[in-house]
Symmetry: C2
Subunit: 711 residues, 2 copies
């Protein structure tokens, strides 16, 4: 290349001086190198005719313009969605959620793009060049003595070779599937973890874990097997034109098991529906996303020794299980570790004087989780989820007030944009995606299968959980959970990742239709369903449900006091108690400024270490009164109430009093001494019991306390 040729690039260079190639590439992910390429080409082709150069430049310009226009299309779609959402919120319309709306607008634009635009010939010039034995990821091509580097974009199915030069606009709006996994999902998932309402989440942790792990696995296998039946049927009827293995069916079961009740939860939030139901639904949907991802990779990894994928191979099966456990625990660890590191950094530096730095650090550390997990071969999205939970549980306590709202708001905006983007893309994809395989039998079968799968997931599991729960999961709750089995962004992202084979294309189309149907119908039906099922609304989410909550009590029956005590013991099971006391006594004091001083909880011989790790604030307010901690105090208060059930009900307000006290503490934060004073003066009679609650869970008291409570 000769010097000075840039100066001879011609006016075209100036006109497209700053092409947003990468911004676009980031989102469109394909065909965007064209502009860059043609530009380089224009620079290089000095010896070729000026006409040709001009043509290439025009082409590049045109392509660049189209890229901008297609991205603009999405932005305008989102803008339109936002304005309509506002109108809906303004008029309190609840039958259509913003995500449903985004899909509708996407659909409309998709129809316009599909049928309204002329099929312009592609700008990409294609050249067939036969290679010998394998595809390389990079090609060096020699053009009249100049070398050009090409990168592999992917395989083209033989039938599509001639349609590569198809409608440009349609191709432009079809994104690289990895965008969904690597750009759009992480903020959504992180936000889910970060905005988890911890108090209710942890109180229902056991049930949530059961629903998310067992339930998703059950649902996956049931759907997989049912779909295998459907596929067999299709083969008999002659509706199946290509292979469809059992593993494909299981894979479909895995991707479609990721529920995403975003519309239901939005309505719950708006109507302040029951917090426990909210926690169950939200917790389950957050965790089952992670389970579904890992499950689907494990199923793909299931590879029997022979080529007959129908045969069951124990070794391969256990390998898959091993992979599942490995990826899941690895990703979990990654997320937790970066969360803990962030907590330590924010605790031991005085970064909270500079909210901007703090927010930036928080953002970077959370992002690094994703990369770290990917670098170690784990799953970034799952790691990001647990990182979000850890950040909310520990780091959030150490942040300055400004950073707390900054980080919340930052991720809220990212989440909002990413989510609506995905949903409007889904609407668009129905018409612009070019590899749809519509199979009515499969689709109907899938709808039946997800219904049955959800039923087999919720009802039996709820039955078993109710054996151990004090607050039973009522029938109305179970029906609501059954009803709320929407499929959303995660199922879509998993389905679009690989649409190479016939089976996968059929799955993708079906998933898309399931998402549409569930979001529109269930989203619209939530409000009627809530009132039909008699689920109480208008609950203050920070308020504890009253001990005599109807929806619980009615279906719970009248257990005797001893039976209650028994259940109580079961709810606050050893795992949770162990975890709670460990967290409260060691983790919280080490990682945050709250909790009891380590010097009192750690054995004497690590006194120096304990002193180093305990922050001075802890001594000042031994009663942890910080905002986030109130979550746990509440849990504590709640559990005290649970333990001292028979005694507390005598003087009535004791339990709720403790709760509201802690709430006040969380809200006022600064007036901790005032708080203590108030307590000492006004609630002298409760002092002993309230001190008692602090000691409910130290490990050594585990055995004694339940025995004491009935006295």
């Amino acid at each position: 290349m000769e010097p000075g040729d840039a100066a001879r690039l011609g006016p075209g260079w100036a006109a497209r001086a700053l092409p947003p190639r990468l911004l676009l590439m980031l989102l469109l992910g394909r065909g965007l190198r064209g502009a860059a390429a043609a530009s380089s080409y224009g620079a290089a082709a000095e010896d070729s005719s000026a006409m040709e150069e001009l043509a290439t430049e025009k082409e590049a310009e045109e392509s660049h313009r189209q890229d901008s226009v297609s991205l603009l299309t999405f932005i305008l779609l989102l803008t339109l969605t936002i304005l309509t959402i506002w109108l809906f919120k303004h008029r309190r319309v609840r039958f259509l959620h913003e995500t449903g709306l985004a899909m509708i607008y996407g659909l409309i634009v998709g129809v316009i793009l599909r049928y309204g635009t002329t099929a312009t010939s592609g700008h990409d010039k294609s050249l067939s060049c036969t290679q010998e034995d394998r595809a390389f990821s990079t090609l060096l091509v020699n053009v009249s003595g100049k070398f050009f580097e090409y990168t592999l974009k992917g395989e083209i199915s033989p039938g599509k070779v001639n349609s590569v030069e198809q409608n440009d606009m349609l191709r432009k709006v079809t994104f690289d599937p990895e965008v969904f996994f690597n750009i759009l999902l992480p903020p959504i998932i992180f936000h889910a973890g970060y905005s988890l309402k911890k108090r209710h989440f942890f109180r229902n942790l056991g049930s949530i874990l059961a629903y998310a792990f067992l339930g998703t696995a059950v649902s996956c296998f049931i759907i997989g097997n049912l779909m295998y039946g459907v596929v067999k049927l299709m083969k008999i009827v002659g509706q199946l034109s290509d292979k469809f293995y059992y593993t494909d069916c299981l894979f479909f079961g895995a991707i479609i098991s990721a529920t995403d009740p975003v519309t239901v939860l939005a309505i719950f939030n708006e109507l302040h529906a029951d917090v426990d139901l909210y926690a169950l639904l939200f917790g389950e949907s957050v965790l089952n996303d992670a389970v579904a991802i890992v499950l689907s990779s494990s199923i793909v990894a299931y590879q029997p020794a022979g080529l007959n994928t129908h045969a069951f191979d124990a070794a391969a099966f256990f390998k898959s299980v091993g992979i599942f456990l490995g990826i899941f625990s690895g990703s979990f660890t990654m997320g937790a570790v970066t969360g803990v590191v962030t907590a330590l950094v924010t605790k031991f530096t005085k970064l909270h004087c500079f909210p901007l730095l703090e927010t930036a650090l928080f953002f970077l550390m959370s992002w690094s989780t994703f990369l770290l997990a990917e670098a170690c071969g784990f799953t970034g999205v799952v790691a990001v989820l647990f990182c979000g939970i850890t950040q909310a549980h520990y780091t959030y306590n150490n942040l300055s007030v400004e950073s707390r709202s900054r980080t919340k708001q930052l991720f809220e905006v990212l989440h909002f944009l990413a989510e609506n983007f995905i949903f409007s893309y889904m609407g668009l994809a129905l018409f612009t995606f070019q590899k749809h395989v519509f199979s009515p039998v499969f689709i109907i079968g899938a709808f039946v299968a997800i219904f049955l799968g959800r039923a087999a997931h919720i009802y039996p599991l709820s039955f078993f959980l109710n054996l151990g729960r004090r607050h039973k999961i009522g029938w109305n709750f179970q029906h609501m959970m059954m009803f709320s089995g929407l499929r959303g962004a995660m199922a879509f992202a998993l389905a679009i990742r690989d649409t190479a084979s016939y089976a996968r294309q059929m799955m993708f189309t079906t998933t898309l239709l399931i998402v549409f149907f569930t979001v529109w119908i269930i989203g619209g039906g939530t409000t009627p369903m809530l009132s039909w099922l008699n689920i109480r609304v208008g609950v203050d989410p920070d308020q504890d449900p009253p001990p005599n909550n109807d929806s619980f009590q009615v279906l719970q029956g009248d257990g005797s006091d001893s039976a209650r005590g028994n259940r109580t013991k079961q709810e606050s099971a050893w795992l949770f108690r162990l975890w709670y006391s460990f967290d409260h006594n060691y983790l919280k004091p080490i990682l945050t400024h709250s909790g009891p001083p380590l010097t009192t909880t750690l054995p004497a011989w690590c006194g120096l270490l304990a002193q180093c790790l305990t922050s001075p604030q802890v001594y000042e307010n031994q009663e942890p009164l910080r905002e986030e901690d109130s979550d746990f105090i509440l849990t504590e208060g709640d559990l005290t109430l649970t333990f001292g059930d028979s005694t507390v009900t005598a003087n009535g307000s004791s339990g709720s009093h403790t709760a509201s006290m802690s709430l006040e503490g969380g809200r006022r934060m600064k007036s901790s001494s005032e708080e203590v004073l108030e307590r000492d003066l006004g609630m002298g009679d409760q002092k002993v019991s309230s001190r008692g609650t602090r000691l409910v869970f130290p490990l050594e008291d585990n055995v004694r306390l339940p025995a004491q409570s009935p006295e």
Copy 2:
């Protein structure tokens, strides 16, 4: 491709289940398709040997891991920078700014990567395949009957063909230059526009425009010509090994004329240095970035008819000038239009009840500016700047209080991350960029040239501006401006865009060194320089400088009152007055909730339209007391003070009193009635003059008022 093969992808698929390919591609921009490619390949190559498949998979995994690691490197760098910045701020260290720090860390990591890592062989398999006449942007390659699509990545200079398989890590950390233009610069530039301190900016608008446009052009031509001399000298000495045209020199002049006094301004902010100096420096640097971008594209577009680029071609020159004007005004219009549209949308909807929606809309509209400008062939970065200014001036007024802080904080974080990213990349690039051309003569020449260019830019222009300014730009200010000619992100981004030719590579290396030198030395020297030049610090940025400001007065000489009145008239020149009254009477009322009702300012015959456009709030508080408006009230107060100079100085505090009143209004906002009461009671004697200020600028009064003031 056969169905079910995904199931046979092997455990490797699971292990790298969610590669952050695109997140990485977004930032690394090259070589990242490898993983995807190999993955597709793995799926396709069923018939090839299992060994080979496994090898490809391993390769892909390795490459993917390296991508993650290299991005992690940057994140850790930024994290480290943040922590050190905190330490510096904590200990009030001012000799090194965060950007300087980011560069140092980048430099260290660059050295480690360069000399510490072994040159692993690249994972990219290359294949030379000779094509006939031109490079296409897409290649279809036929491998044993399967078709693969390849995209053009760019040309490789002949010397580098064999070094493509070089140290992978070094390649990985070398980003696609367009990343800087399309991902990192827009938030930086938008933030600059959005956070502009409008009051001082508009007061110094004339000077700022002069510095930014004339100054940058002067600086560009002087540097270009000096460098041409240097290049000639190098040719004589024999230091030049390739061609270096006059247009290249001018191009260098353009890119290096974009000043970026980020470190100086940070220190100004911290020390609360003089607000006018701040406004001059900040305004100039913001606008000259835009000028430099457009200037450099225009110079590239300068293409004389013949091939002899030395010859001056009038037609080509005027074409370049036309392109400059066209791109600049086009981009300006784009930015302003989207800003205005956003203002209208936020004014006429009640979106401010939903801050999340509002923030999302704001973000999307601002981003669409960039795309819109690019789609129309203008410059996105420049459009984004003017969009930011418009948004701050109009839209900001319509936002809810929460959205105001949200948008500010969102862009602040983005700006912070992007800026530090660029600077740490610069540090890294010094060692990892593989096409450096170090030419001592050129580098020394460039340092001399930018010094002379800056001098020729500041001193003569200041002299001419002082002829027309009441508040003279004192010598100390001029020296400070001369001193603050740092080069930063913009110069770097412009230099790295095209490093194909020898001349460009030399420019890039030189630019990098200039950035290093100026950021470190000038950044460290700002505080001593400020005290040495006697520039007052500790000024409340919201406070007007006192009329008897020493640094002004001392150097201003003792002008008589009449001379002062004369200057006054010149400062508030017709252009500004015209703009101000138009903005205050028409634009503000149409686009925001403040300003006088349109029904009073528009002619009677458009009464209905005026009524529709005027928001009801305006009638309630005819005195615009909203936060942002206080900026203009202050300007107004200031100008009143200016007009009534000889009279006001008699009773002393009048002017500053008006100013502080407006400030109070800006801060309290809600207590407007209280305000009015206070004014009516306590300052009855000033009521007339204070009413007078409201009427200083209506168009019809333009002529009469200055004549009235001396009385």
